[in-house]
């Protein structure tokens, strides 16, 4: 019965609510995460033979190089590292 209560708790948690994790701290914003379709096709041999990196069912999943896992962009973990955009300044 324990697994049923765990499943019920997970189902309750699945109802759309405001997430505790801020958008900026999710995998989609992490520097270790990549989900562009052509990259996913290169990293996943055979994907483009009978499916595609551009398929809607793939949603925005991507590859995390820290965990070596294929994850949704909304996932969260404790090893989040914000992506850095470099601003090049003119040197005088």
């Amino acid at each position: 019965m324990r697994w049923m209560s765990a499943l019920a708790a997970a189902l309750r948690a699945s109802l759309p609510t405001r997430s505790a994790a801020p958008q900026a701290a999710r995998c989609g914003a992490c520097r270790a995460f990549r989900n562009d379709p052509l990259y996913i096709e290169r990293q996943t041999p055979g994907l483009h033979v009978m499916s595609s990196g551009f398929a809607a069912i793939r949603a925005d999943d991507g590859i995390c190089s820290v965990h070596s896992r294929y994850l949704p962009a909304q996932a969260v973990c404790e090893r989040f590292q914000a992506r850095i955009t470099v601003v090049h300044r003119r040197v005088r």
């Binding site: 697994w3 997970a10 189902l11 948690a13 699945s14 109802l15 759309p16 958008q23 900026a24 995998c27 989609g28 914003a29 520097r31 989900n35 562009d36 379709p37 052509l38 990259y39 996913i40 990293q43 996943t44 041999p45 055979g46 994907l47 483009h48 033979v49 009978m50 499916s51 595609s52 551009f54 398929a55 809607a56 069912i57 793939r58 949603a59 925005d60 999943d61 991507g62 590859i63 995390c64 965990h67 070596s68 896992r69 294929y70 994850l71 949704p72 962009a73 909304q74 996932a75 969260v76 973990c77 404790e78 090893r79 992506r83 850095i84 955009t85 470099v86 601003v87 090049h88 300044r89």
Partner: protein
Amino acid sequence: MSTPAQTVSGAQPEPITPRIAAGAWYRTEDSWAIALGVGLVTAAVLALVNGSSIKWLAVTPQKWSSPDQLGRQFSANAGRYLALFVLWISLFGLSTRALGIRTLQFLPSFALLFAVSAAIIGLGAWEQADRYNLEPPLVALAAGLLISNTIGLPRWLDAGFRVEYYVKTGIVLLGATLPLTLIVSAGPVAIVQAALVSLTTFGVIYGVATRLGLDRRLAATLGAGGAVCGVSAAIAVAGAVGAKKEHGPIAITIVIFWAIVMIFVLPLVARALQLPTGVAGAWIGTSEFADAAGFAAAQSYGGYAGHVPGISGSADAAVNAFTLMKVIGRDLWIGIWAFVLSIVAVSRWESTGVRSPTSVWEIWRRFPKFVIGFVITSAIISILTSAYSVADFNKVLKPDLVNPIKSLRTWAFTFCFLSIGLTTRWRDLASAGSRPFLAFTSGVIVNVLLGFLLSVIVFGNYWAALGSP
């Protein structure tokens, strides 16, 4: 989808690769397949309403008995073929550019694809083609496999071999030839049959895989690949459960292997048993693993109708039954599979250090949205045809509207079948390992037998009637 970024002025430069918004609507082939398919059907309807037709453009080779005849056909219709080529390359070229595929690579690749497809469709129109089993889908697949695994083609040519895009465009066009009433009436039977087979197949693969000691996330990825919609289901569930990076490619290798085997085996066995086209289509829809592969098998079998003694039903019945079973019965539910498995992964399986979302939005996020286009084109033509009598339908709508759309569909599917062969390079696929292969193969055996039982014996009369005139 925009991604938030932290700006650090003067930070040390680091290699940052461009990140493409994977989830935006214009970044999915589904959206473009809907746009192209619905756009072409709408154009065909508007032409008809204005007293014209797109049949001049939707050209395919007619029956021929000598190479000279075929040559004369091509030269007499050169302008039409050129116009069709310009239409396809413009539509696919612009849309793949929006997807982020290099146009300079796509254009020559597609030109090659079109030329070889024309030759294959032409070969299929040979009067003796049935005698030598030269069904265009099988020829396209075999030719592609032979080329890619022997002489090989430059990798950059893959830019134009977009299997999934072509099959989705073909399915949206197919909707125009499948009445909405048939989808509504046959849908529940397809869903019940597919649900029985999908749940059993998943259970067998998952059960055998975990007993063989495989990771549960790999077991679920393999199970979804065998039970739902092949490679697409495997990659969707791999993401939903947070599988290891190598799990997806393992499942994909095995799915591709069995899908290609089944393209040849299922029509062959069905032919030996002389199954009616509707029944064979339902069986293929239940037991084939990928949409593109299944359409190749179903279209091949449909080609036997009226040509191979003992096989009853119409050519369309095989494709229609397959579509109902595969698209409506199985593909549609991938979001629910992913949602349920994501909950199980979070609540029951060992932690991975990553917390994946378990929202009900998962169902919509992973919904195969091209199906919306399939329903829209079906609705457009169903509404239009409801105003016509059967006699007027056969006299006006069939030659001026339905048949040209079917011709465009034939082209889209041929691009797809040829692309499967041209992109399947066995040496490039991930090594699957014996245990995953054994687990998946157990599911294949159960799936094929149960699919046969339900399609031929339990619902046999129903699927056979689908092909009756």
